[in-house]
């Protein structure tokens, strides 16, 4: 698949701030709009610099220019006579493109282009326009062919760190923390005063959600209010940073950037059964305050580090590469090189965005239009990831899973379980019990209504069974023995699933029987499908017998009729078939053979090691790929060879080390965290800032390129980036630095003046009000009700492989069905929980450094009607009811939900509400009224926003 920029982009280009010799923007637009996309899409396959079919190269601007000089595009006054239009019109000897005539509109577009004098960009881009300091409107296309200009090097994010000195400020109370001096100086320039300090309860709620994703407890509120020391808030920050809840909150921020999910996403959405280990690794790393440079190295090259005993990284490093392994994968893609390079593309995308704040994947097909990233830069990174294996066999096989155990132990484990599996297969070669059952059912299900009607004649009308069996016309002949068991089954009037049958009258009995037949068919189809998918999982993974989960069983509760007829052993259903019944259909010799195999299989299973070996979804080193540029992203169309290295613009400051590993991942990681490299520390410092303030200093956290935002306070960003590195890349030290500033402790208050002068709060004239994320909303509701389960780590999804096409287990786990923290809910990419999608969770497929909160009515439906909110409100009501005094009850509800005490008006209103609830409606008891009151608080704006 090629990815072109849309035409609107070209229109934008044409009015952009650059100049091209002798061509007007309108002429350029017509080239970009009418000609270039067609050449690129339809002609370049053959007419390129390499093949030059017919001596023509429409793949490069030089080629197009040459074609123009050679008269290929004819004369502007007579466009129809040009060779180009003759070929396109299919009227002459040469008909192009050979796959079929282009649509008339396209040809007309090219005609207009010829009539305009066949203008092209040619190789005539003049000296780049001077780099406007940081203005977003000064974007311009880079010179083609990836030449890096002085202007590029001076672009703000590529420049070396400035090591700025905090400016002098006159307000002594804002002079202490350097952050405040940068902020205050910026505000002063616009004539704005910073907001006053936030109140204590507000600040505590802010900091607690910020660092842990949870509300403060009543006790924590009391302690903070009672602590009058000047270091009271510092104590709070340190307490929160030491809490294991911290890693769960900030780990989730990182997982957004890492586009984390527990399944492949494309086609069948196969599970990544061990993805959770990577998630737990991230949580743990944040809690341990692993230095960021080490964190980067482990995620990019942990497997290589683990192989080195001295590194001390061990299995942790193998798990860390889950970052590369857990992207979207199309296992069913039949175009194998494309399948491989789509994975490479995902790995480049997430690496570049996460660590470098750069979008580079457009350079898969063409040089980046704005940033100095050429296709050869892209393919230099591709060379690294193409030399890394993501599938067992490179392009085929399962996504890689690596045992976290010594090789010998794993080999013994796998050998034992593949013996079991092989015996299973041997048995299936003689008789495949499941397939046979499916086949039998296909026959049975056509005769159900016939059997039911026949049985009725026997048990209700007393006709002789033999005669009934003989004269019933059905797709299959009725078997007298089976008919007898149908009679036994149907004549019991108390069976709930047969209520409709016994209620049927003579007129509709046949139709009712038909409905039962349909019901059986539907349930059988679903069950057979579930079994078949389970078998696939069971057979397809190493030692899968241990992890495929239990064999599906027919649910008596959900499918009572199908269960009673085909799955119930006792009482025996009329169509129930035991293993023995099936074996009896074979010859005695064959049956004996299978019986012997079954004994063998069971013995093998008994002997096999039962302790499951921990596995991780990972990548591993592959053979070094001799990578070439793919022209226009097409792997058939090879360009120049490339080295395994980082993009050239970023090597200006930090030269990349010599590649010694197969893939070059370790060298890439080392280079990223090279102290001379200015981008990674800027990007991460900005992410940390954004975590606290909702917006970064650069508001496009994943794009520090020219189409990205410019820093609102570049000196502050460089200061933070420098501090980050000087503090040994400690993220927790950054939190402390930021949170102890006056800036962080400001109130969110603002007036019309501030709204006018700093409408988007880019200068931070007040603390930004933020909406809770879905994880915070859900976790906080559970915490308020007192039901939050704080168990850490592990998986809630023990399955492997895929599920039946229509199986409900394809949907991510229902967030209402567990009390664990939201971060631990497994995410099926193709069907994220509705709740997550409602609240702007993102797609868990592309790296997303920032969520975009929306406010829509369907969110309100969740808040109003969800059983979870309802349950937690009830739980809170039960708790507040333990107080004797009504006013104290209201107080406790306010403190639990809104983390503050109510004022007297609010207490009055609450009392009135509860009294009138009970007065107005019979059946609304004390508990229900209080539940409703708690619910109202939990639904309020004050709850869902943090100030």
């Amino acid at each position: 698949m090629r990815s072109f920029l849309p035409l609107t982009y070209f229109a934008f280009l044409a009015v952009g701030a650059f100049s091209v010799r002798g061509q007007t923007p309108a002429q350029l637009e017509i080239f970009e709009k009418n000609a270039r996309p067609i050449f690129s899409d339809k002609c370049q396959g053959c007419h390129n610099a390499k093949l030059k079919s017919g001596g023509l190269d429409l793949g490069s601007l030089a080629g197009i220019k040459q074609a123009a000089t050679e008269g290929f595009f004819g004369n502007a006054s007579e466009p129809e006579k040009s060779l180009l239009l003759e070929a396109l019109s299919y009227t002459g000897r040469v008909k192009m493109p050979p796959q079929g005539k282009l649509p008339a509109e396209t040809i007309a577009g090219l005609r207009d282009w010829v009539a305009a004098g066949a203008p092209s960009l040619a190789a005539s881009i003049e000296k780049p326009a001077p780099e406007g300091p940081e203005s977003a409107t000064s974007v311009r296309p880079v010179a083609l062919r990836g030449i890096i200009t002085e202007g590029d090097k001076k672009f703000w994010s590529f420049r070396p760190l400035a090591h700025p000195v905090p400016p002098h400020v006159s307000r002594t109370d804002w002079a202490e923390n350097p952050i405040d001096r940068f902020i205050l100086a910026n505000l002063a320039k616009s004539g704005i005063e910073p907001a006053p300090p936030a109140g204590k309860t507000t600040l505590l709620r802010r900091a607690t959600f910020d660092l842990t994703g949870l509300p403060p407890s009543e006790k924590e509120i009391q302690n903070f209010l009672a602590d009058n020391s000047p270091h009271a808030f510092e104590t709070v920050v340190d307490r929160l940073l030491a809490s294991p809840r911290y890693g769960e909150r900030w780990g989730r921020h990182w997982l957004d950037v890492m586009r984390y999910a527990d399944s492949t996403g494309s086609d069948e959405d196969h599970r990544y059964p061990h993805a959770w280990r990577y998630r737990d690794y991230v949580v743990q790393s944040f809690n341990d305050d692993m230095p960021y440079n080490q964190f980067v190295r482990e995620q990019l090259a942990g497997d290589i580090l683990a192989a080195d005993q001295k590194s001390g990284v061990g299995y942790r490093g193998i798990v860390a590469t889950g970052f590369l392994a857990l992207g979207k994968k199309a296992l069913a893609q039949k175009d194998l090189p494309l399948k491989r390079y789509d994975v490479v593309d995902d790995q480049i995308d997430v690496t570049a965005k996460a660590f470098l704040g750069l979008t580079v994947t457009c350079a898969r097909c063409h040089d980046h239009k704005f940033d100095p990233i050429a296709t050869k830069d892209y393919y230099s990174m591709a060379a690294i990831f193409a030399s890394t294996l993501s599938y067992e066999k490179g392009e085929t096989g399962d996504p890689i899973q690596t045992p976290l155990a010594p090789a010998a132990e794993y080999a013994a484990f796998e050998k034992a379980w593949s013996d079991v599996l092989n015996l299973d297969k041997k048995i299936a070669d003689v008789i495949d019990f499941d397939k046979q059952a499916t086949k039998d059912r296909a026959i049975q299900e056509k005769s159900i209504s016939a059997y039911m009607l026949a049985a009725y004649r026997v048990y209700a009308a007393g006709e002789p069974a033999a005669q009934v069996a003989a004269d019933t016309k059905a797709d299959t002949k009725l078997d007298e023995r089976k008919l007898a068991s149908w009679v036994d089954y149907l004549k019991v009037k108390t069976r709930p699933e047969l209520a409709k049958w016994h209620a049927a009258g003579a007129a509709d009995r046949a139709k009712v029987a038909d409905n039962y037949q349909q019901e059986f068919h539907r349930a059988a189809y679903q069950y057979d499908q579930d079994v078949s998918w389970w078998r696939q999982a069971y057979r397809s993974f190493p030692a899968a017998g241990k992890v495929a989960g239990a064999r599906p069983v027919v649910s008596q509760e959900k499918e009572p009729f199908f269960y009673a007829v085909a799955a119930s052993e006792s009482p025996r259903g009329p169509f129930y078939q035991s293993e023995d019944d099936q074996l009896n259909t074979l010859s005695p010799e064959k049956a004996a053979e299978v019986r012997a195999l079954i004994v063998q299989r069971n013995e093998a299973e008994r002997l096999a090691p039962k302790r499951e070996i921990a596995m991780a979804c990972t990548v591993k080193e592959g053979p070094t790929m001799d990578q070439k540029v793919f022209l226009r992203g097409d792997y058939h169309n090879l360009g120049d060879p490339v080295q395994r290295t980082a993009p050239s613009i970023l090597r200006v400051n930090a030269p990349s080390p010599e590649v010694k590993t197969n893939s070059g991942r370790l060298e890439l990681a080392d280079w990223i965290v090279d102290l001379r490299n200015p981008i990674p520390s800027r990007v991460m410092a900005n992410r940390i800032w954004q975590g606290h303030f909702g917006e970064g200093i650069v508001r496009t956290p994943d794009n520090f390129g020219k189409l990205g935002d410019r820093p609102s306070n570049p000196e502050l960003l460089d200061f933070l980036a420098t501090q980050f590195m000087e503090n040994g890349w400690s993220i927790k030290k950054m939190h402390r630095l930021i949170m102890l500033s006056k800036t962080y402790r400001m109130s969110a208050e603002y007036d019309l003046d501030k709204k006018t002068k700093d409408p988007e709060n880019r200068l931070l004239s007040r603390f930004p009000r933020q909406r809770l994320s879905i994880e915070e909303i859900r976790d906080a509701y559970l915490a308020i009700g007192g039901n939050l389960d704080l168990a850490m780590g592990g998986t809630l999804d023990p399955g492997v492989g895929t599920d039946g096409e229509t199986s409900a287990s394809r949907i991510s786990m229902n967030p209402e069905s567990t009390n664990r923290r939201s971060i631990y809910l497994p995410l099926r990419r193709s069907n994220l929980p509705t709740l997550y999608m409602l609240f702007d969770f993102g797609d868990a497929t592309s790296p997303e450094g920032k969520r975009n909160p929306t406010t829509v009515a369907t969110q309100a439906l969740f808040v109003m009607n969800s059983p979870l909110v309802d349950r937690e409100a009830k739980s809170l009501a039960d708790r507040v009811l333990r107080n004797k005094k009504d006013s104290r009850r209201i107080e406790e509800a306010y403190v639990s939900v809104l983390d503050r005490r109510p004022d007297p008006n609010e207490i009055d209103a609450g009392l009135t509400y509860i009294q009138s609830m009970r007065r107005k409606w019979k059946g609304v008891d004390e508990e229900k009224a209080w539940q409703s009151f708690c619910h109202a608080l939990m639904a309020s704006n004050e709850f869902i926003y943090v100030y």
């Binding site: 698949m1 072109f4 920029l5 849309p6 035409l7 609107t8 934008f12 899409d41 494309s266 086609d267 069948e268 893609q333 039949k334 175009d335 979008t359 704005f370 038909d514 409905n515 539907r522 794009n703 019309l752 709204k755 006018t756 009000r769 096409e805 229509t806 199986s807 394809r810 949907i811 069907n831 994220l832 509705t834 999608m837 702007d840 592309s846 929306t854 406010t855 829509v856 009515a857 309100a860 439906l861 109003m864 009607n865 969800s866 609010e906 009055d908 209103a909 009135t912 009138s916 609830m917 107005k920 409606w921 609304v924 229900k928 009151f933 109202a936 608080l937 309020s940 704006n941 004050e942």
Partner: protein, 477 residues
């Protein structure tokens, strides 16, 4: 009823509104404006407000009947005499990339007979006798082309234009482009959608605002009886009756208004207050629309609700009509996931068609009788067709290179066949309609210009058709 509002705050609602209006107007620098213009302004920033399309629309809404798995064109709407004459002979052209490589064999003629019907005389196979009766309303496109050889890629391309990235689905684009005229129902509804092959990505809003996300009514694995209990997740309150819930909502809003007093400059707070009012209305309205029980017996019979074979898809089609009547912009019904006949083509295609044929014809007739077909575009399609060569002797493999779909109503030329495949039915020949073209054409029928319907994301403008797409005016009436 006790006015909680006055208890908890001193400011009554009405004065709040006008004060807000003044502030907003002042904040925007336009001087004083009345309430009317304030609402107009609110509509501008509201992505769901109804909008007039770029050029006159032939259709106002879409009903997409999706046949998941890939029904065979050459066995339904595109007869191939060549296959009858050459049954069992090898395919004389090079076979393109195929899903079940190595398993496909010789050419296989259609096991169904085609019969001409209607005034237009277009042939339809015996798989669709009821739809055949409606042939004079259909515009059959026989030259569809896609690139996905596997289901996942093909579904994603059909609904989002690409299988390489996560992108907004066509329904989201339409809702984004046209807004909705009924704020008490979601503007984009997909009934019993497939969970596999892209799942929710096939109705996601991608980078468009979350409010244009498709709302799923159950999913393919659910039974209608269970869906009816709560068609939209979180639609039904189980604790309070409506009057009680209104009272609770009054309390919520009273708390919210008091809170708003503290943060007068924050418009977002008012937006969330309003979202609760809308949700409350939606609860009542949506439940009415989803209740099909009051439809006449004749209507139920028309859609096949009385026959267990057709009851499921019949319910979907009937619900689609009710949603169309209530101005839902984009409605999708899915028959999932049944049409993937790598083997047993004859039996299974017969079974599948029998489940949908009558409901589809019922829908077309009903829409026509109610005058809704004029401005409703009905689309019937799979994610691809199937190969003219057999797979394993009695099945057919995937074929995205040339397949059929049809449209009806909403400004398409009725009783026509548009485009063609080669004589084998493998590749599209005349008037090739790539999925991008199909998208451009559907948008055009709705009055939207696919090149102008853009959304800025990640620094550049995106559109449904990326850089491709030609409007096929040949299908316009």
């Amino acid at each position: 009823m006790m006015d909680i509002n006055s208890l908890i705050t001193k400011a009554p609602k009405a004065s709040q509104l006008s004060r807000r209006a003044m502030l907003r107007a002042a904040g925007c620098g336009f001087g004083f404006m009345g309430l009317g213009s304030m609402l107009a302004q609110a509509a501008e920033i509201d992505p769901l407000a109804p909008k007039s399309p770029a050029f006159p629309a032939k259709a106002k809404r879409v009903i997409f009947l999706f046949m998941h798995g890939g029904p065979s064109s050459i066995d339904t709407f595109d007869p191939k005499p060549y296959l009858i004459a050459n049954d069992g002979k090898p395919l004389p052209i090079k076979q393109p990339l195929t899903f079940a490589a190595g398993k496909t064999g010789a050419l296989m003629k259609s096991p169904w007979e085609f019969k001409q019907s209607g005034q237009c005389g277009l042939p339809v196979s015996d798989l669709f006798p009821h739809v055949r009766e409606c042939i004079d309303d259909l515009c059959v496109v026989r030259s569809m082309v896609g690139e996905g050889v596997d289901h996942g890629a093909a579904l994603l391309q059909t609904f989002t234009g690409t299988f390489t990235f996560t992108r907004p689905s066509i329904g989201s684009w339409v809702l984004y482009g046209l807004g909705t005229e009924n704020r008490n129902l979601p503007g984009y509804i997909t009934i019993k959608p497939a969970l596999s092959h892209g799942g929710a990505k096939n109705w996601s809003s991608g980078f468009l605002p979350g409010s244009v996300q498709g709302t799923a009514i159950g999913h393919a694995g659910m039974q209608v009886a269970d869906i009816k209990k709560e068609p939209i997740e979180y639609l039904i309150n189980r604790g309070l009756d409506r009057e009680q819930q209104r009272y609770e909502l009054d309390m919520i809003q009273a708390i919210n208004r008091k809170h708003h007093e503290l943060w007068k400059q924050d418009d977002e707070l008012e937006t969330r207050i309003q979202s609760f009012e809308m949700a409350f209305r939606m609860q009542a309205e949506a439940q009415k629309v989803f209740d099909v029980s009051k439809e006449s017996d004749a209507t139920k019979e028309l859609y096949g609700l009385n026959d267990p074979k057709t009851a499921d898809f019949g319910w979907q089609c009937l619900l689609a009509r009710r949603l169309a009547e209530n101005d839902v912009r984009f409605i999708q019904c899915t028959h999932s996931y049944k049409w993937d006949q790598h083997s047993d083509l004859f039996a299974k295609h017969n079974e599948n068609a029998a489940e949908v044929d009558k409901p589809i014809a019922g829908l077309l007739k009903d829409l026509k009788a109610r005058g809704l077909l004029n401005d409703t575009l009905v689309i019937w399609s799979g994610e691809f067709g199937r190969t003219p060569v057999s797979e394993g002797g009695n099945g057919r493999d995937h074929n995205p290179y040339g397949y059929s779909m049809w449209m009806a109503g909403g400004g398409v030329k009725p009783g026509t066949a548009y485009g063609s495949t080669d004589e084998f039915g493998y590749h599209a020949a005349e008037n090739r309609m790539h999925i991008h073209d199909f998208h451009a054409t559907v948008l055009a029928l709705l009055g939207l210009d696919h090149e102008k319907l853009t959304y800025k994301y990640s620094g550049r403008d995106f559109r449904l058709t990326d850089v491709a797409g030609n409007v096929h005016k040949g299908v316009f009436a």
